[in-house]
Symmetry: C2
Subunit: 298 residues, 2 copies
């Protein structure tokens, strides 16, 4: 066991969180959310997504959101980009970091973006090349790493291959996502080990949804393997389109509470983080999905 | 790491769960709950508490509940007993196993049962002796092992001492409880290691509340240390009297899902367990507190 001494939380509530919430949040509130998150000490905040508004109406204001936020020195504000067109829209407002996404499951890719894994990688190749030419950093997502709503089991070899390809294409970091939150610690650990045999551990991040309540245990297992970047979303925003009534992303507050309790540095002001989650939940008209957020009384 | 090949879940919803729920459950429903739990394949179900109804009105029907349940062969139905009077009431309805409880925190014991730790152990001595004479098994609870709502930090040496004393007095199993759910995995692991240096690991159980969302991660850390008995409550019943709106016991469904996913045997029928949690939540007029229970679609 080699627990990291510090962990970077990649805050995904403005994108992965809000994208899957039923309640639409105004552009002004999205900007306030990101500015509040910047105040919390987070170093990476995924700000929005330049996908087509036809697919994801929640992100139709991507350009306004990105243009409106305070860009603080030392904080990265990556945005999701599905193709060259999205990349150009993002660059038009000065985006400095993008994220591209594919899945380890063929069935999921077909249903989600109407492309095979190989086709999705081909689609990203010119985006990554353009980004490299522009000095823009690229983060890569691999989803369905522990299971797929369409094909069920996802072979580990597919996860490893896709992660390795994205890394070889130039992504500085690969986020391994259990999109439907079905994984358990032993499987999460084995998956991470397999990928880390081909991609350096310090280029890997983990991304868990708390659909079955397993996210924090899975994160612990992966921390024990040495991963030191963890995606999370305040208030546990996100939901799960594949399981009704289910939880969303692992709550940043719960992750931060665990790390703090284990003496692992995050640079996060926990009280401000909880406050931001409570504020966001209010905007969404519901209770925060973070248990630490509910229990903590500053 | 030495993960156990099988784990026994001690189901505490009928006692620790319902005792801390605002909604009172009828005697008939309590009996149905326990019978349903027996059907799930659980081997230990804490049935009720013979404390004074003045202190815990939810458990005033302890004798009726115990008398009314089906006692299945191979399943233990321990009941909580605070003193000799409670023990005698329990024995009058044929109880075969009891549980006694104290805390590792002096301040908590004083507030909770108006006795020092030493006094609480003295109070239990004749109960344990009587039980031993009657061939009744005794389980011991140590609460506040990772923090106390009154004194804050609880010295590890106090946890070890109380656990060791209860074991020496004749308890076959000591359940180590993070009553207020403030612990994190490294602290949980260190606490278990310290106790296991003085009490055999196979005489130890862990008891986590999910107040800060840490329960499953804490359980994983303790499983890695070799513990193989885990207390839990279907639907995550219990709440926390010390943190408003907070979660209760770790949900049995979430624990069972994790263990099943890790290939650790529990003997539990997961589908029935989820069904029991959903049924209980209905009786309590609220959504189940188990994320696995919400997400699972049999």
């Amino acid at each position: 066991m080699a627990l990291p001494s510090s962990v970077r939380i990649v805050e995904v509530s403005p994108r992965d969180g809000l994208q899957n919430e039923k309640t639409m949040v105004s552009t002004v509130d999205k900007i306030e959310l990101i500015n509040r998150l910047s105040d919390c000490g987070l170093k990476t905040i995924e700000a929005t997504s330049f996908v087509s508004p036809k697919w994801v109406p929640q992100m139709a204001d991507a350009a306004e959101v990105y243009a409106g936020i305070d860009k603080r020195p030392g904080i990265a504000y990556p945005v999701l980009v599905p193709n060259l067109q999205g990349y150009e829209r993002a660059r038009a407002v000065g985006v400095q970091e993008i994220a591209v996404f594919t899945a380890a499951s063929e069935a999921f890719n077909q249903k989600n973006i109407n492309a095979s894994i190989a086709e999705s990688l081909e689609r990203f190749a010119p985006v990554i090349t353009a980004a490299q030419d522009d000095g823009v950093r690229v983060r890569g997502y691999v989803s369905t790493v522990l299971g797929c709503p369409y094909q069920g089991e996802v072979p580990l070899s597919d996860v490893v291959r896709v992660a390795k390809d994205l890394y070889a294409m130039g992504c500085y970091e690969i986020s391994l996502g259990d999109t439907i939150g079905v994984g358990t610690p032993a499987k999460a650990r084995a998956m991470l080990q397999a990928v880390a045999a081909e991609v350096p551990m310090d280029a890997l991040a983990i991304h868990f949804h708390d659909t079955y309540g397993q996210a924090l245990a899975n994160i612990l297992a992966c921390l024990e393997e040495g991963v030191s970047v963890v995606d999370a979303a305040v208030a546990g925003t996100g939901g799960c389109p594949y399981a009704q009534g289910a939880s969303g992303n692992v709550a940043s507050e719960d992750v931060a509470y665990m790390l703090q309790g284990m003496g692992i540095k995050t640079g996060i002001d926990f009280t401000k983080l909880v406050g931001t989650g409570v504020w966001l939940a209010g905007r969404l008209g519901r209770e925060t999905g973070s248990k630490a957020g509910r229990a903590y009384d500053p």
